[in-house]
Symmetry: C2
Subunit: 322 residues, 2 copies
């Protein structure tokens, strides 16, 4: 139900995904709507719910009044082991709150985190937290490092992921108190392949596999990237449009430019995971169109097939007790 485009984006993407993956069962949770038309596919079903969570609804209101919403019911399906993973383009804060409330978090873990693979010059890196935690203690950043490295190991088979702490310089004294203390914790943790500080201009270099930061900084970094990407695309279009010569050239260059756009646009990696919950949840970008939502579904499929949540919980239990 959620996202900027609502059913116009999520439903066609889900149909396409169900068609492409006949062995995967897709369940849609939605409020009954005249515009909803679902083809008859053996692996696609729809569950009608009483309500949905609005994009700007406050968490407290949602938690109190919206247990029968499509969002909450999809998470209950995961909790009841009737689904392996839940994907939503809706209200991030509400999805996280319902996720925490319905699924619970790994025992011993202070805070779950939002984590996303970001495209780099040579592949992708995982960045966390991206907005779940605006105030963090150093030990929480330490936990994020473990979660991110676990993800890199489990999803990408990377045996010794390199992790870095986002800071405003690479010299050892840079940053605030929390960053300084987290740096000490990470340096002393011999189970991690910690490479020290990373600056904002290097996160897309691919030099490290996991980038750790608090949710405020991570959220700003991710959204700023989208803003720059949008400006780049828009101004490139303008330069090609600014003359007859440019317009003609633009016609010839179109396939190349489209390829570039797909490759470089930070939005193409659609799908963030909520790490630390006792159940798998993928959050699609609210602005995702149908194609982008399909990416999120594919990511969810990969994530669930690899039993990432369960394996990560086992791994973290070891780390937390050790």
């Amino acid at each position: 139900m959620g996202g900027d485009h609502g059913l116009r984006s999520t439903v066609p993407a889900s149909i396409k995904f169900a068609e492409n993956n006949p062995k995967v069962n897709v369940k849609l949770f939605a409020v009954k709507d005249a515009s909803l038309s679902i083809p008859s596919l053996s692996n696609l079903e729809i569950r009608y719910c009483e309500s949905s969570v609005a994009m700007d609804e406050s968490i407290s209101v949602a938690l109190r009044r919206k247990m029968s919403s499509s969002m909450a019911q999809a998470l209950v399906e995961v909790e009841n082991r009737q689904a392996d993973i839940c994907v939503s383009a809706g209200n991030t804060a509400a999805l996280l709150a319902f996720g925490y409330h319905i699924l619970g978090a790994y025992s011993g873990l202070k805070r779950p985190a939002i984590c996303k693979p970001i495209p780099t010059l040579i592949g992708h890196s995982y960045m966390l937290d991206l907005g779940a935690n605006v105030n963090v203690e150093p030990s929480v950043l330490h936990d994020f490092a473990k979660l991110g490295c676990g993800l890199s190991r489990l999803v990408d088979g990377n045996s010794s992921p390199k992790v870095a702490l986002l800071n405003i310089g690479t010299e050892s004294k840079k940053g605030n108190e929390v960053i300084q203390q987290a740096h000490a914790l990470l340096k002393n943790d011999k189970t991690l392949n910690y490479s020290g500080f990373i600056e904002g201009d290097s996160i897309y270099s691919g030099h490290v596999d996991v980038i750790v930061c608090d949710g405020f900084v991570g959220n700003v970094a991710l959204k700023v990237s989208e803003g720059v990407a949008r400006m780049a695309l828009s101004q490139l279009k303008e330069s090609f449009k600014s003359s007859l010569y440019g317009r003609a050239l633009g016609q010839f260059a179109r396939p190349l430019l489209r390829k570039w756009r797909t490759q470089f646009d930070p939005a193409r990696y659609n799908g963030a995971c909520f790490l630390g919950l006792n159940g798998s949840v993928i959050k699609s970008h609210g602005s995702a169109d149908s194609l982008a939502f399909q990416y999120a579904l594919e990511m969810a499929h990969d994530f669930a097939s690899k039993k990432t949540t369960e394996l990560l919980r086992d791994e973290m239990a070891e780390f937390i007790t050790s």
Copy 2:
């Protein structure tokens, strides 16, 4: 002396600037070096200094031992009214510390800030702080808003600059405690045209004239932008290089692509100002090449010609006492 390219970038830029601006006197502060060759121009002189501040030198060491450095001596020249403004591509932290030590700050102002015009889709906006203050109180963010608006008024003649607070959402409850309290201060300040929160993806939209944030977040946002821009350029180059067709097309498209690059690259606006010091200081990006350093010199010229520092101090004195 500073920056990644040292004299190879700053000296040619200064010569070019002196040639283009015969009525402006340019004084270079440098350690004697065999490679230093300065043409005889009536408005260009060189002052030899005993030492220079290293890019990674700690502030405390610099302040104790480097008063005779090129950086400190250039600031003393401003303090003694023998120069209207100082431009450096060197160690940012040391430049700020020396600036504070030698020039002092506006009376009543808690913290000076690093501020930069950032390119937007429709012009530019001022963003501050960009790294001088990693921990701020709400009242400091309030001061930053006043400084930024003063700059927009004085440099751009914008009579009622729109100011926004960088946050991870636009809903009123988003963000941490400091952001919430700063939001209240800004909302209640009737001398400001405050438009509320702005998210990272909108800072390049040009919807507001001044964007306020703490130095940690601002520094990350700026550097992440550079990283995305670099990735965009590099991957665009790659797509044109990836086939014979692309290479041929690239030849024709070169002028267009160069124009786009100049227009969109966030690095093109080279030059950050230290706002709140009793003297004018412009910091060039360390990675600036000769052309980029020339931009910083031109920005400095404009800044000094408009007596920005003096007028801003008068304006702030009014605000602080009122």
